[in-house]
Symmetry: C2
């Protein structure tokens, strides 16, 4: 049973605050282990990689090779279901088209006194993409992480994926190939992150590392940050479904369960102004749970973190929605467009009754890597901007330096930085 919060209750504010501050993950302290793994990869390179992979992934890289070959990829196309490949291609095309609109424009201009200014965007030279092994090895995530990099113009997109028992999900290899990944290695864990950051005999280092992973991968990313760039460390996923009483409770229940089946720390929240409808959705959740292959996970998520929030009106709901700042926000209400306009904090908004969040997971075109745990208040989903960087440009001639120099000298002197002042004064003979 999910918890219920009623906006009309006297202690609502207090309970809502407690709800907002609930932690959904315990981060294991694996820093020391990860530190040792990174040190060994830096020291012994491929040999250490082979050794760790044998122990952790039961996979013999001396036999299989560290790198996945073209023929391995061709074999994956043979093994994969043709309809699924077609779906991946459709997803690839839609995601690529949407992300092409995100490529930032350079800006060069001269101001009124002839100072030339500019902002120039260039792609990061190389990116490492971590893909988890096992059941969390999702081809859709390969597309979502690799395509923004490809659209940005990153030349080397290097994927690492552990091959548990020697096996890699063929759809992961197909998705990587469709998305333009240029190199693939059969490695995972902290050792893969270290290899990407520092390089080995086989693997040239990359400049930035992205992609989800377990506690070891997350700790390794934090430890190599600085040497390379990293993306945000994603927490467990969440959905907030805002729904009025005109919805089919079964549809809304299905959306809540789609989130809950991800993992036991996922969070599904229903916000409604109709207590009867809320109850109907809860009943539908219980009914549908019994038919789900991942019922245990979904039930645990719904029990531990699920919530039904009964609001006095959708007008009164807006500030609550902004405070939750959900990764995924479904608006299954009349005038959903108008409500969407008024929401400030959300990773992605799914507008109207016919836009289940799952469409965005796969095929809508927008990215499914989104800010979790209320971080939509200050951060954005993955985009082309994560794979480019901006260089400022500034150019003065003698005339412009003469005009602006004295103010810079005044400020430098006020800050006690005489060498700063001097570097301008010496050019102006003052």
């Amino acid at each position: 049973m999910a918890i219920t919060l009623r906006q009309s209750d006297a202690d609502f504010e207090q309970r809502f605050c407690a709800f907002l501050s609930t932690k959904r993950e315990i981060s294991a302290d694996v820093d020391a282990v990860v530190h040792a793994i990174i040190a060994r990869i830096r020291e012994a390179g491929d040999a250490a990689l082979i050794d760790y992979t044998r122990r952790f992934d039961r996979c013999d890289l001396e036999e299989l090779g560290i790198a996945v070959s073209r023929s391995d990829i061709d074999a994956a196309y043979e093994q994969a279901d043709p309809d699924t490949i077609a779906a991946l291609k459709l997803a690839r095309d839609r995601i690529r088209a949407h992300h092409q609109r995100q490529v930032p424009q350079d800006d060069r201009y001269s101001d009124a006194i002839g100072v030339e200014l500019g902002s120039r965007w260039t792609a990061v030279e190389s990116v490492g993409l971590y893909v988890p092994g096992g059941t969390a090895s999702y081809p859709s995530s390969v597309l979502m992480n690799a395509l923004p990099a490809a659209v940005a113009g990153v030349e080397r997109i290097v994927m690492v994926v552990p091959a548990s028992g020697g096996i890699i999900n063929p759809l992961v290899l197909v998705a990587a190939d469709l998305a333009g990944v240029s190199e693939i290695y059969r490695i995972g864990g902290a050792q893969a992150i270290a290899a990407l950051a520092y390089g080995t005999q086989t693997i040239r280092p990359v400049v930035k590392i992205v992609g989800p992973g377990n506690a070891y991968v997350a700790a390794a990313k934090r430890q190599v940050f600085g040497t390379v760039g990293i993306d945000m460390i994603a927490g467990p996923s969440e959905v907030l479904v805002v729904a009025d009483g005109s919805n089919d409770p079964e549809w809304v229940a299905a959306d809540l369960l789609a989130q809950a089946e991800h993992d036991a720390s996922a969070q599904s929240i229903l916000m409604t102004d109709d207590a009867h409808f809320g109850k109907a959705v809860e009943d539908a959740v219980e009914r549908q749970l019994s038919h789900l292959p991942r019922a245990d996970t979904a039930a645990q998520s719904w029990r531990d973190f699920g919530a039904v929030i009964l609001v006095e009106s959708f007008e009164a709901a807006i500030p609550l929605i902004d405070r939750i700042a959900a990764e995924h926000l479904e608006l299954a209400v009349d005038n959903a467009d108008a409500m969407a306009e008024r929401i400030r904090n959300a990773g992605s908004i799914f507008i109207g009754r016919h836009t289940p969040e799952v469409i965005g997971d796969y095929i809508g075109g927008c990215n499914h890597v989104l800010p979790t745990a209320r971080s939509a208040r200050f951060s954005s989903g993955l985009s082309v901007l994560d794979f480019v960087k901006r260089t400022s440009l500034l150019k003065l001639g003698t005339e412009q330096l003469r005009i602006l120099g004295p103010a810079a000298i005044a400020l430098a002197k006020a800050e006690g930085l005489d060498a700063h002042a001097r570097s301008i004064a010496i050019r102006l003979n003052i």
Copy 2:
């Protein structure tokens, strides 16, 4: 004496790699102390803030007040030199004008099958700006951090600055007022970061914290990250001056020293194709050092981290420049524009002999908060984008769901996520 690296030497590659991997800061391990400070602020709020401020800043907040008042700001205007205020206003106007060009545009469109997609940008609701006390309390940094937030539309810009012995640099208060800072508090250190992140009786919490600080401030920012957003943790500053033999060695020496005077960990690098010129610059550095108030700091920086790199040609220099990925890059060569076009990795490029880097520190208009320690390979300087976040929008109707639904179902099933598949199938009656 700075080190000299000659591209023509047999061991150049090895020495250049060693040079690139030189660490310029030792980060003190202050995590435990900071952890305790944050816990006490969360527990005791204002009382703890007053207590820490009395101990660390020798400042009695019970007497002065935690908040800086309007009359304090008015008094600061009275104390400050009018010419410096005028220079700050000119800087403010130029920085604001440049940053207004960075405001990202929303994007809404419908694709060929009628799916509505969009990217909508909104400002972060509130930002905390940390300003160090003492000699590193720079009004120019207040402008550079606060103005992008103001241009982004952040409603609450909250500045904290320690008042050592009760005193705050009046120019810091003036700069804050000119930049649109809405609240100012006389606090610093880890306790100020904790107050911004969690709030106290007097200070409402903010959503994101930016600005430079010492090891305690940096550690506190890392610890509150997640609860709030943070900016990058800046390392010591650096400049790479690429100069041919036609330059006045005194000008180039002045630019190297402007960087070196910042702190002993700053780094100044000269890259030239003319060994005689290189020697002339080194001599000029020694001569000018003797006239500098901050000679000790600058001399230590130049001795420990300064470098002269003698390249075989500027053509051969381009890959080295990209590998250094300098925070500040001056191009004092013929055809500097053409060379700038070819550089990929740099925080900011100062083009031509009349654009000393110091102009960018104060008055050029571009931001002076830039990626240090080679992170320009994967990150950008501070901009309006750091104070906004993007929400994805997606809207399907029944027709679009009918077209895209089956591919999403296929992918969900291939990933073993049956509840995902069901949330679409239930709407399509399949």
